[in-house]
């Protein structure tokens, strides 16, 4: 397998858009997630040949993992539909049908590696086009990092015609704000100016207004359509440019979370990215990974200059909305269309690669692929967070698929996924089973692979190699 074909399963639109989104939003983990998104597949490319570890448990884990990864991508498609004013399910179903058909089209296996390379280059050139207006990424980063406050620009679409929220969210207001609802719905306000917080629930019609005071929290449903006031602070955004650049939450307490993210990505990559053929052509794999991750970070840095881009929670907003905001409609619309097509190409190429991984671990039957795409679409219809779904998929792959691939015996290839999988599910289910779990468990419940991966790998390696067992038995 070529290095380009090997990395296709890694470069998911959910990963690329989540990186850009998290950089734009100023999440504390964005820098090391961006680096891990590049280094994890590089480690997998260099790691020794790993057998598929084919057995019934691995087959189930592979099917669930591929379904979740695809679901994360379809959730991004659903988010994109929200940005275009369409229903979420329309975006998810339309892209699912394309994914289903193209991954089953025989020539797609031959075409997908070059398609991944082209999509990565388009994303990189797209950020280059934004650079013509916004300057080099480091200039844009510096400019964003010195802003006194992150406010709604007068020409913001949230101010002019209003926007929709991709998923249910709670907004915290640092200063007073008059919010106009543009669609009927239930809006919950928590007022925190009294000793005891007061919760008010409003059923509002289109055109009604809510007056929020500093400290108030507003909970909106997925699809809620609202308008904000120009010049006011963007609710939920960092307090200032310095807070965006240096994320005050960063500190030694975040170390378990950082470790969890890195372990999840490394283990996920070891399961999804196979060892390629070596030689001069193999250089294309790392170069395409570098282009895609650099493009994602650059888009995120530029999008940070427009702080309300990420307010609605739609992951592709930095790539699809920024061109118009930065370049104006005449140049921005074609660029947004181009980046949208590049994301779609990435998704289809990733689906082709994922189908190959599924065939190696479970079965080549078209019925299995259809079942996986249907399951992914069913998940994507709900307004879930694509990043959370993707990290769950990568965590499951790390804990219960990768152990089968490093096992030295068929017993290890069975024991590793069982132990890793059970541990993963148990830890992931903790918040639902025990809602009052202490905060120090946050790293484990956020990244269950942190515990499940070592257990799965230990179980896989603890079994004696097949040759020794035969010798012992003989």
């Amino acid at each position: 397998m070529s290095a380009l074909a090997a990395v296709a399963a890694w470069l998911q639109p959910a990963l690329v858009t989540a990186l850009a989104f998290r950089v734009a939003a100023g999440t504390p983990d964005a820098p090391w997630l961006g680096l891990a998104a590049l280094v994890a597949p590089l480690v997998a490319l260099l790691a020794g040949a790993r057998p598929p570890g084919r057995n019934p448990v691995t087959a189930i884990v592979a099917a669930v993992t591929v379904s979740l990864v695809l679901a994360a991508d379809l959730l991004v498609a659903a988010d994109a539909a929200t940005l275009l004013g369409a229903a979420r399910w329309q975006g998810a179903v339309l892209v699912a049908l394309a994914t289903l058909a193209i991954a089953m089209w025989a020539p797609s296996r031959r075409l997908s590696p070059s398609a991944v390379a082209m999509a990565a280059v388009v994303l990189l050139l797209g950020s280059g086009a934004v650079a013509l207006a916004a300057g080099a990424p480091w200039t844009a980063w510096h400019r964003s990092g010195v802003r006194p406050a992150l406010t709604f620009p007068a020409q913001s679409s949230w101010v002019l015609g209003g926007q929709r929220f991709a998923r249910a969210t709670t907004l915290r207001f640092a200063e007073g704000q008059r919010v106009v609802t543009l669609a009927a719905g239930v809006y919950r306000v928590v007022e925190r100016d009294a000793a005891t917080p007061i919760v008010r629930e409003w059923r509002l019609a289109a055109g009604d207004a809510l007056t929020l005071r500093p400290g108030d929290e507003l909970s909106v449903e997925a699809g809620a359509h609202v308008r904000f006031e120009a010049g006011r602070r963007v609710p939920g955004a960092p307090a200032s440019g310095v807070a965006w650049a240096d994320a005050s939450a960063r500190g030694p307490r975040m170390l378990p979370l950082a470790l969890g993210a890195v372990v999840t990505m490394l283990g996920g990559a070891l399961a999804l990215v196979p060892t390629p053929r070596r030689g001069r052509a193999a250089a294309a794999g790392p170069l395409v990974l570098l282009a895609a991750t650099s493009a994602a970070l650059a888009w995120g840095v530029y999008a940070a200059g427009v702080p309300d881009l990420v307010l609605g929670g739609a992951l592709p907003a930095p790539l699809l909305r920024l061109p118009t905001a930065a370049l104006g409609a005449p140049a921005g619309v074609p660029l947004a269309l181009l980046t949208g097509v590049a994301l779609l190409v990435l998704l289809v190429a990733a689906a082709v690669a994922l189908r190959e991984r599924l065939a190696a671990a479970a079965s080549e039957a078209p019925e299995l692929w259809v079942a996986v795409v249907v399951a992914a679409t069913a998940v994507a219809v709900w307004p879930l967070d694509p990043w959370r779904v993707l990290t769950l998929a990568l965590g499951l792959a790390a804990a219960a698929w990768a152990p089968a691939r490093i096992a030295t015996s068929s017993a290890g290839a069975l024991a590793g996924p069982i132990v890793g999988g059970v541990a993963f599910v148990a830890v992931a289910a903790l918040p639902a089973v025990a809602p009052g779990a202490p905060s120090w468990l946050e790293a484990l419940t956020g990244y269950p692979a942190l515990v499940a991966l070592p257990l799965g790998w230990l179980a896989a390696r603890a079994m004696p190699p097949d040759g020794q067992r035969v010798a012992a038995g003989g």
Partner: protein
């Protein structure tokens, strides 16, 4: 050896960000050291290292 070097490159980013006194927050030419490292220096080194190891065909 190559994999170990990649893992060290990866581990430095959270350490820069999370170490006491936040050395990653130091500004170099207007951008924090953490971002210079995580978005430019480490990716270039990691990619060059991976390419160097992948293009060598084992005998």
């Amino acid at each position: 050896m190559g994999i170990a070097a990649l893992l060290v490159l990866l581990a430095i980013a959270p350490l820069l960000a999370l170490a006491p006194a936040a050395p990653g927050a130091v500004r170099v030419s207007g951008v924090s050291l953490l971002w210079w490292y995580a978005a430019l220096i480490a990716p270039l080194i990691a990619t060059a290292l991976a390419i160097a190891l992948l293009v060598r065909v084992p005998e």
